[in-house]
Symmetry: D2
Subunit: 140 residues, 4 copies
Amino acid sequence: MSSIAHFAFPLRVYWEDTDAGGIVFYANYLRFMERGRTEWLRSLGIAQQALRDEIGGMFVVSDTTIKYHRSARLDDALWVTTRILDAGRASITLAQQVLLQGQAHAEVLLAEGTIRIGWVDAISLKPGRIPTAILEKLTS
Amino acid sequence: MSSIAHFAFPLRVYWEDTDAGGIVFYANYLRFMERGRTEWLRSLGIAQQALRDEIGGMFVVSDTTIKYHRSARLDDALWVTTRILDAGRASITLAQQVLLQGQAHAEVLLAEGTIRIGWVDAISLKPGRIPTAILEKLTS
Amino acid sequence: MSSIAHFAFPLRVYWEDTDAGGIVFYANYLRFMERGRTEWLRSLGIAQQALRDEIGGMFVVSDTTIKYHRSARLDDALWVTTRILDAGRASITLAQQVLLQGQAHAEVLLAEGTIRIGWVDAISLKPGRIPTAILEKLTS
Amino acid sequence: MSSIAHFAFPLRVYWEDTDAGGIVFYANYLRFMERGRTEWLRSLGIAQQALRDEIGGMFVVSDTTIKYHRSARLDDALWVTTRILDAGRASITLAQQVLLQGQAHAEVLLAEGTIRIGWVDAISLKPGRIPTAILEKLTS
């Protein structure tokens, strides 16, 4: 994949992901990107259920922009990539791509976007600052 | 529709409901039946978010059996019907159908099934008895 | 609602729409907006399954930008609004909002975004021009 | 896992799978089982998109029965198992389980069910016999 540092997570297209157009339903790329972000967080030692249980907070998505270039179909094998564009106390912006797996580094870009996530109290849903310990794990 | 007393709720098939077979993804009939049950409960004065907030409990599904007869497609207008088969303190069993809307009572049965629901504490998820006040609303 | 001409479609939040944060899963606002667009098209005499069967083409989403302001919860009643921002032969851009229904025009904005849709051949998925007859219905 | 021959496929619970009860939405176990069946078919050399493209047919689900025993939560790691209960020319019945991964073979059964699948023409959706070559792959 590209030389820019990012995290890549593989996934497969199942019936549940497709629509009557014969392709992946476009809203489901947000689900794919969510899985990619979750595994990227896990790779940095951050488990979201544990965050809620132990710290009482959770990430929430505040902005998404997605461009759709090509369509994936049933049984396609994909990559979801995640890298940080910007990280602050109030929010983090990530760049993500969904690519069709190919031979010899011949991936095809299917969709790409930016996702901004903030932090809220898990009970009150009130916005707060991202805990320093988490921010350090994300940006170190 | 049939002469047996039941609650009927209308819904429409959207892109999100279909799969690459060109028809409604079979798992989504469970979502349709859920909407039908929710509106049936609401028609009896039972709002589930309020149950959680005020009583601290919620219904959970413990068994489902579904038979699929025919397929719905994009833009189809459907009915979801709900009626009680059996009601006890520990669980309630419902019979539900999904039908294609037709002219002059010419509905076509698409899928039918039974759904058994129990009651759990919303925090601990431990099973409990269905509150008497709710059971009375359901069976009166 | 606002004085700008738009189409408003009501919907309800069900269990299927929520996530473990206790709120509507953010990707599902794209599904809500899809339903709103579909009913807006239907109100203009455009049924998408018929388009595929008769003209052999379909709309596809090429860009989405969504801002999330507040969260919807189980049982909330919502509005989805749709209006045209820009319409050309190659694509149409729509502005859509999801609002919490309120009393006395006191709706609360939950999410808003722009959705750009293009036109493709239903079999080959190759992009094409939006048929004139459809474009006229949309913009008349 | 058990000594009965079956195919086991691992998966992870993401936000998209959960509902406001804090647990996996029960309808999503059908999606998990679908993924397990798809990977079981793939392990036998059967790719469903290729079936449609080359043979013009596809599997459809005709009956499901699911019992829910315990709940999965965000971040849980699961197994989905698949084995054949019965195979004929008209339909195949599979037994499937969803288990919470545990240490030292200490899996916890979350849900189990039977899924009957038939075969239809991919265009007309008319039922037909399962092609002999496929049946042989499944039962050899």
